[in-house]
């Protein structure tokens, strides 16, 4: 497995951890505390920022561990540059990410338009962010595996 593939898997894994933290800790804690779904207060903003920060830290730690482990196992240095193939795959992956996030955002607006609680809209936006990141990373991984 190449460095690019293992890096993509690392990003995917940390995104899933972030989504899991959001689902099982933040959302559950809020519903246990009996938050009013018709209002969005500072709690949601703070918790979402914390989840994003934790996800970034997990991603950095996992990337370092995977890079070192692969360097030891394969006795080959990690590529120090991103070449035209990396940039092309990143661009294509970003396109897919934007599409997924755009679809999630529209869905969130539809939910708001049909009278759903603002908290539902907020969750849809946050989940589409995680979904967009995951979709982009899976696309990148597929491009590296199958070629393009």
């Amino acid at each position: 497995m190449s460095y690019q593939e293992s890096r993509a898997i690392t990003y995917l894994f940390s995104t899933l951890i972030g989504a899991a933290i959001y689902s099982f800790y933040v959302v559950r804690r809020a519903s246990d505390a009996g938050f009013d779904p018709s209002t969005i207060d500072s709690f949601w903003g703070i918790m979402t920022l914390i989840v994003i920060a934790v996800t970034v830290v997990i991603s950095v730690i996992l990337t370092v561990i995977v890079t070192v482990a692969q360097a030891v196992a394969e006795r080959d240095d990690a590529p120090s540059l991103a070449d035209e193939r990396d940039r092309l795959f990143e661009l294509k992956a970003n396109q897919i990410s934007f599409s997924v996030f755009g679809a999630g955002f529209v869905l969130a607006m539809i939910a708001l338009a049909v009278g759903q609680a603002p908290l539902i809209m907020f969750h849809l936006i946050v989940y589409s962010l995680f979904g967009a990141t995951a979709a982009g990373t899976i696309a990148q991984l597929t491009f590296y595996r199958r070629g393009y």
Partner: protein, 71 residues
């Protein structure tokens, strides 16, 4: 449009160039070893610029390195 494929003779040319490694070729043209590997396997079609650079390393015309075939 019929399906097409861009093939190459990079593996042969590397062999003829004193068994040049993928890493050495990658360094000479400024890409990663994985990209050279992907090109050799036909999993990635390089840009025209990179294709010319590879041909220049082997000191052969572009058509001696890459070929285009309709399947």
């Amino acid at each position: 449009m019929k399906p097409h494929r861009i093939g190459n003779h990079i593996r042969t040319l590397r062999f003829l160039c004193d068994e040049m490694t993928q890493k050495e070729l990658a360094k000479k043209v400024g890409v990663t070893r994985q990209t050279i590997l992907a090109i050799e396997k036909g999993k990635y079609s390089p840009s025209l610029e990179l294709a010319f650079q590879i041909a220049q390393v082997f000191e052969v015309p572009l058509t001696d390195v890459f070929f285009y075939e309709v399947e």
